[in-house]
């Protein structure tokens, strides 16, 4: 049990996927303009990431490894995740329309995104068991959501600030992310796995 908790905490805070591994920056800067959107995106990413990491684990360990086809993993995983997200979108639209209204627009954005593909690749590299890789994906999603919401609240405040013209928009957002990353850096060394 302790192992799972440690992995979860480390994925959320220490190895935060955006701020210390730089995955999913496109979403991070694209959807962090207001807090509500950030919250929706964070939840969508967490859900999709956990489910797709489960699928990828099964695909890799139950199909590719027995068949000795691990060199194809990249091609297979990209297609698997893209089609899985597509399927998820159809299912949610059919059966849970209210959830679709909240999440729908984000789902297609994350179909081929580095953070969604990155987690299964990390799981494969670290040779995690099914439970551990699920926990890792969940932690990664929660960490991503936290960073996104923090960033969105900062950028909402920034709207009232007087920013030099050339730094407006993306420039100042990067510097802000740097400061946020510096703050998260304080967590490093807290847990050693």
């Amino acid at each position: 049990m302790k192992e799972y908790l440690l992995l979860f905490a480390s994925a959320v805070l220490i190895n935060n996927f955006v701020l210390s591994r730089f995955l999913g920056l496109c979403i991070f800067f694209g959807v962090s303009k207001n807090v509500n959107a950030a919250l929706g995106m964070g939840m969508a990413v967490t859900g999709v990431m956990t489910l797709s990491s489960m699928c990828s684990w099964a695909m890799y360990n139950l199909v590719l490894v027995p068949l000795n086809l691990t060199f194809l993993s990249l091609v297979v995983l990209v297609l698997l995740i893209a089609s899985f997200v597509q399927l998820l979108e159809m299912l949610i639209r059919k059966f849970i329309p209210t959830l679709y209204e909240m999440w729908g627009i984000y789902l297609l954005l994350i179909a081929t995104n580095c953070v969604i593909l990155g987690v299964p690749l990390i799981n494969i590299e670290a040779n995690y068991s099914f439970a551990l890789s699920t926990v890792n994906a969940l932690g990664a999603g929660v960490g991503f959501g936290i960073a996104l919401v923090l960033m969105a609240s900062l950028r909402e405040k920034l709207r009232f600030a007087d920013v030099p013209k050339s730094l407006e928009g993306l420039g100042v957002a990067f510097i802000l992310a740097g400061c946020l990353s510096l703050a998260f850096f304080g967590f490093s060394g807290m847990i050693n796995i």
Binding site: V75, C114, G178
Partner: protein, 207 residues
């Protein structure tokens, strides 16, 4: 002249990292030293050029409804080749670059060039477009790599520049330094582009 324009627009005016702000993940993740930055830049250059050529070759046979999955398969195959080659011949570099090498598959810039340019243009033009974008990517990666390694470690390609007396600013090779540096570089390129456009406009009025 026109071909030169296709090639050169990726270098500065539509630089994939600094102006279009696409594919930023590697720009920060692997630029803490110049060697990794160059390796990553070359890999991306190879994938984007090769993929543009492939997409342009098959552009008349692909049903538009299934084009995106086909582009993705093509990119993934080309990238797998690069990954396997590096794994076999440069295992140390491969280890340092880690999963970012595999994540080249999902770089927005590669799919974007295939969709926007290569699927509509001839092989030669697509090749030049991909090559130009790749050069722009490599160029930006190397600049970021040089600045970060120089400030954060006092070296370029592992060779000491400032001598023993230099006290390195460790922040620059840590993640936060990467974010902050890119912020300033984006601002710098915005100024350059604004200046350039103004000059072009004045030149246009004179002519």
């Amino acid at each position: 002249m026109e071909l030169w324009k296709i090639f050169s627009k990726g270098l500065v005016l539509e630089n994939p990292i600094l102006v279009l702000a696409l594919s930023l993940c590697p720009a920060i993740a692997v630029t803490s030293s110049v060697v990794t930055a160059i390796t990553m830049g070359l890999t991306v250059m190879y994938v984007i050029t090769f993929n543009n050529v492939v997409v342009s070759l098959i552009r008349n046979f692909v049903n538009p409804k299934v084009r995106v999955p086909i582009y993705i398969i093509s990119i993934a195959t080309i990238d797998t080749l690069a990954v396997l080659l590096l794994k076999a011949y440069a295992p140390l570099l491969y280890k340092e670059l880690g999963i970012y090498l595999e994540l080249v598959v999902v770089f927005a810039i590669i799919l974007a060039r295939a969709e926007v340019f290569a699927s509509k243009n001839s092989v030669v033009r697509s090749f030049l477009d991909g090559f130009g974008m790749g050069c722009g990517f490599l160029f930006a990666m190397v600049i970021i790599g040089i600045i970060r390694e120089l400030l954060g470690n006092g070296t370029i390609l592992g060779i000491s520049v400032f001598g023993q007396a230099y006290d390195p600013a460790l922040l620059m090779i840590l993640p936060p330094g990467g974010f902050i540096l890119i912020g300033y570089l984006v601002a710098l390129f915005k100024i350059i582009n604004n200046y350039w456009e103004k000059r072009q406009r004045i030149r246009g009025e004179v002519a």
